[in-house]
Amino acid sequence: MVVAWTAPDADVKVHDSGTFPVIHMSVSPHLILTVTPDSEWRDGTDTVIFDAILSHLPLHAILTLSAQYNTRLSKGVWLNHASRLTMLKRAFLVPTAVRAFREMLEEDAPPSGLP
């Protein structure tokens, strides 16, 4: 599931509520895309789909990014899109997404060093 808001920090407010289900969202999102397999996907397909979705989203305008549940994003996915995340101020990542994020930073570290 990918949820996008046009209001700034809307995903932060979702975290504050402690729940992620759409029905409990305090700020109405602009887009909710849910993709489920009819039977099952080959391993890693969800990551490929996330990669494709991120390619089409206006990442250059994103201020805050949340990866919830067991979102799996590979280092390659982060590297593909990092250059467009120029406005990103805060990322909230679940453990399944943060490891690859750190690997991406280690490979393409910012000039000021790793946080």
Binding site: I32, T34, T36
Partner: protein
């Protein structure tokens, strides 16, 4: 002597009873005058009726409030009863499930010609009950504003016949909801007949159908502002041209919810790449589509949605590697 005495006693008894009756009437009038001095009695009847209406229409919002609970206000005093009985719109919410046939007749009599809100859960109704529903709907459809029927349409007598007999125009009907809860593995046979309301419901703006088919050429679809259709399985025979033609007629649509109700596509369908026509829904602000990934893509590819506030796409991938999802993504980003 005894006979005279008995006659005299009867007269005396009758005189006392008359006196009691007169005294009762005097006391009643005094109570009426006494009540009239209460501050709330200074409220005009229209205002009290408005307050009563809040009670009478609260059933939807507060499900724990029993239907017709508001009638208790008629027991408070003569004036309140008179007011409740003299404003027919207070009686306009008719729940067939909660009332006996006699009760329905009584409430309808009080409602007179005010716009009605009919509600019925027809599970598990027998033929006599359905016939009664059909008769009342036929008799009152001309002043029915809201119609909501749910239940297992496949076993509750012949609900299809009820619909087929509703051939009079519904000039004030604003919203209609039909929810068929029959077994999901049975084919959907329940089809809204073309003759429904003589195809005339000029004020119909809100239509919800669950597991209850409607032809995309139905005139009832024109002028809708809210359309919610849920089917349990995709309709393989739904033609994109019919669907687009119907969409073209719904320029006032603001909210559209489609579940398994968009044209289904085979894996090799070239329609997306050979797009020849789009339809603009200029007023649509909320679009919720739930279907296979390719069907979502096909639908979104054919629509121009300039006023959209929320797009919710729930797509099922039928590909082992999720390739079909790629068709959807360009239309949601």
């Amino acid at each position: 002597m005894d006979a005279i005495s008995a006659t005299a006693q009867a007269h005396l008894r009758k005189a006392i009873e008359d006196e009691i009756k007169r005294s009762g009437q005097v006391i009643q009038k005094l109570k009426y005058r006494h009540n009239a001095l209460a501050p709330i009695s200074r409220l005009p009847p229209e205002t009290l009726a408005k307050i009563f209406s809040i009670l009478s229409l609260s059933t939807d919002d507060y499900e724990d409030v029993p239907y017709l609970e508001w009638i208790r206000v008629t027991h408070v005093c003569h004036r309140w009863r008179e007011i409740a009985l003299s404003f027919p719109y207070l009686w306009s919410y008719i729940d067939f499930t909660e009332l006996t046939l006699a009760g329905i007749t009584e409430v309808l009599a009080q409602a007179k010609m005010s716009p009605l809100h009919f509600v019925a859960n027809i599970f598990p109704w027998n033929k006599a009950q359905l016939d009664a529903l059909g008769r009342q709907l036929k008799a009152h459809i001309s002043h029915t504003r809201h119609l909501s029927i749910s239940g297992d349409f496949s076993i509750s007598g012949d609900f299809q016949t009820v619909l087929e007999q509703l051939i009079s125009p519904a000039p004030v009907l604003v919203s209609m909801s039909l929810t068929n809860s029959s077994c999901p593995f049975l084919p959907t046979q329940r089809v809204i007949p073309d003759s429904l309301f003589h195809a005339t419901a000029p004020k119909l703006t809100h239509l919800e159908l669950f597991h209850c088919n409607i032809g995309w050429k139905s005139p009832l679809l024109k002028g809708l502002q809210t359309l919610k259709i849920r089917a349990l399985f995709e309709q393989a025979m739904l033609m994109i041209d019919d669907w687009l033609a119907a969409s073209d007629e719904m320029s006032q649509l603001k909210t559209l919810f489609l579940e398994n109700t968009t044209p289904a596509v085979s894996v090799d369908n070239p329609l997306i790449s050979e797009l020849q026509r789009t339809v603009t829904l200029p007023s649509l602000t909320h679009f919720d589509i739930n279907a296979s990934a390719k069907s979502c893509a096909l639908t979104l590819a054919h629509l121009v949605l300039p006023a959209l506030i929320l797009l919710r796409v729930t797509s099922r991938s039928q590909s082992l590697e999720g390739d079909d999802v790629r068709f959807v993504i360009p239309y949601v980003a």
